[in-house]
Amino acid sequence: MNQIYLLNILVILESIVLLVISILLFSKTKNLTKLKQYEEEFIKSQAKKQATQDDFLPMLVHELRSPLSVIQGAADLLIKSTDDLSSEQIHTLLNQIKTSSSTLLGMVGSILDVSKMESGRFEINKTFSDINPVLRDECSYFDSLAKIKEIALDCQTDEHLPSFNFDPERIKQVLNNLISNAIKFNTSGGSISIISKKVDGACRVEICDTGVGISDKEKPFLFQKFFQASNQDGVQKGTGLGLVISKGIVEAHGGKIWVEDNKPKGTKFIFVIPTK
């Protein structure tokens, strides 16, 4: 009788052990399914990312080749046709070489900046300065280009903004990128406002334009490498690195950059940098 009782207990115990193993196996299988799902999603997202980069790499190559073609062409003319060229033409060709070389150096600089940002080696040189003169200088710099395109450009600086530690050259680079985009995607008769504001422990800068705007669908991709918004007809030029670098620079200051609609029309880029 005792033996039967013991056997029953053993059978019950065995069943419990089997049940526990089954539950463990089931949960493991569930985890594996989840893992498999994660893996598939990761592969898909990587493929999508790769596809985006594959799409835009030819454009980057195109952008690098363009100034090189001009340099090569100008040099060819200077070597082979010097006797047929006027001194003014020679001067123009030399200027083209200079301009294209600067463009090319700028692009190589951008690629290096992104590479440093991605590897965590990007550094800024902060100095204790006033940001308002930087903003006003940038407005003056772009004033003639805006006038040519019949776009009104104004600069509204908050004189209560305190001086703080930032890298003026790098902030200039951010403003350069944002203002040139605001001009590029604006139309004749439009306007651009550069506004600085003192906010709680930070400096807020807004670049507001009345241009073609950016669709909600494209906004999340704006700060991604090689991405270019499809807000103009034709084929868009550019390395697709400007906003990536701007984001990297602002974040290196401990700040944040984002984009909003500039109601009723256009786009508003905003960046905030801590002043303390």
Partner: protein, 134 residues
């Protein structure tokens, strides 16, 4: 009457450089910097040849090429694609649409361009040779 070339190119620097030997050869070179104006300009200017970039504001060079070939009044104009955008897809598409030639900007120097054009227009290539030798 000099032959007319319509140069559709938004890069001012590139146009300035590559138009020099064409003007020296005696061609009448008309500059169109905006893709959206290109088709209309071909219709009104009636050029002998179109030099057509691909990466253009307003309308891409491939779309311009397609439209020019589809329109009766512009269907036979000589067209050379002159671009730095050289992936196989674009070349195949351009040839399929009816481009007469596809030149990569970085593969050609200004002094060689008149020869290419002369040969397509059935002219002699003397000027180009002279420039190469000087």
């Amino acid at each position: 009457m000099p032959k007319k070339i319509l140069f559709v190119e938004d890069d001012e620097g590139f146009f300035n450089i590559f138009s020099v030997p064409l003007k020296m050869k005696g061609y009448d070179v008309v500059h169109v910097p905006d893709g959206s104006a290109a088709v209309e300009k071909v219709i009104t200017e009636k050029p002998d040849l179109v030099l057509l970039d691909i990466v253009l504001p307003g309308m891409s060079g491939l779309d311009i090429l397609k439209e020019l070939r589809e329109r009766e009044e512009t269907s036979v104009v000589k067209i050379i694609m002159l671009t730095n955008f050289g992936n196989d897809d674009n070349v195949a598409k351009a040839m399929d649409y009816g481009s007469d030639d596809y030149l990569m900007k970085y593969n050609i120097v200004p002094s060689e361009l008149p020869d290419k054009i002369a040969s397509l227009l059935g002219e002699d290539a003397e000027f180009g040779v002279k420039m190469m030798e000087s």
